[in-house]
Symmetry: C2
Subunit: 116 residues, 2 copies
Amino acid sequence: MLVKKIEDVPAAQVQMEGAKNVTVRVLFGPDDNAPTFAMRLFEIDAGGHTPFHAHPYEHEVVVLEGEVILVSQSEEVPLEIGHVALVPPDEKHNFRNPSNSRPARMLCFVPVQYQK
Amino acid sequence: MLVKKIEDVPAAQVQMEGAKNVTVRVLFGPDDNAPTFAMRLFEIDAGGHTPFHAHPYEHEVVVLEGEVILVSQSEEVPLEIGHVALVPPDEKHNFRNPSNSRPARMLCFVPVQYQK
């Protein structure tokens, strides 16, 4: 078995176009021989956001700290600790941190073949 | 997209042989058309534990509340908030709550075909 402390995993800036003030830590992925799905921790700084985009795989999301707004083409849903979200494949979405001061943290799982 | 509050999802007692004082909430699974993996919230009461067993698929685990001991055939590792764990396929394991008074909560993800 493999146990990690989230804080021990290095965070990398998300460089995708449309991302602002977001870092990612790959907690379990191909390098850990995760068989089916990858676990990533995203930290979105105050005012930051992920790209508004779609892709052919799902997200399963858990908020660990702060608040994030999950945005789709038809709605905006605030998520905080105690909420979980499933974004189906091919649905346009992003996550943004509406706070002026607090970072937000969320786990986001994807099928492992899409975790580079 | 599909958003849930963990508390709104009903908890069911885990009836498997070897489980003691454990409930499960299926947050995302086959009924939600989760494509690849299922998200479940396990609550282990003080002194409770899951069965010590193995199966041909992995677990990815996140502790949300309290402390759990992840037990394998060779070691016992305490997990608390900030820890994540990957139990590979076919590795014997269980989770137990060592507290006399506090419940423990953890998310446990599995490939969706194994979520009944």
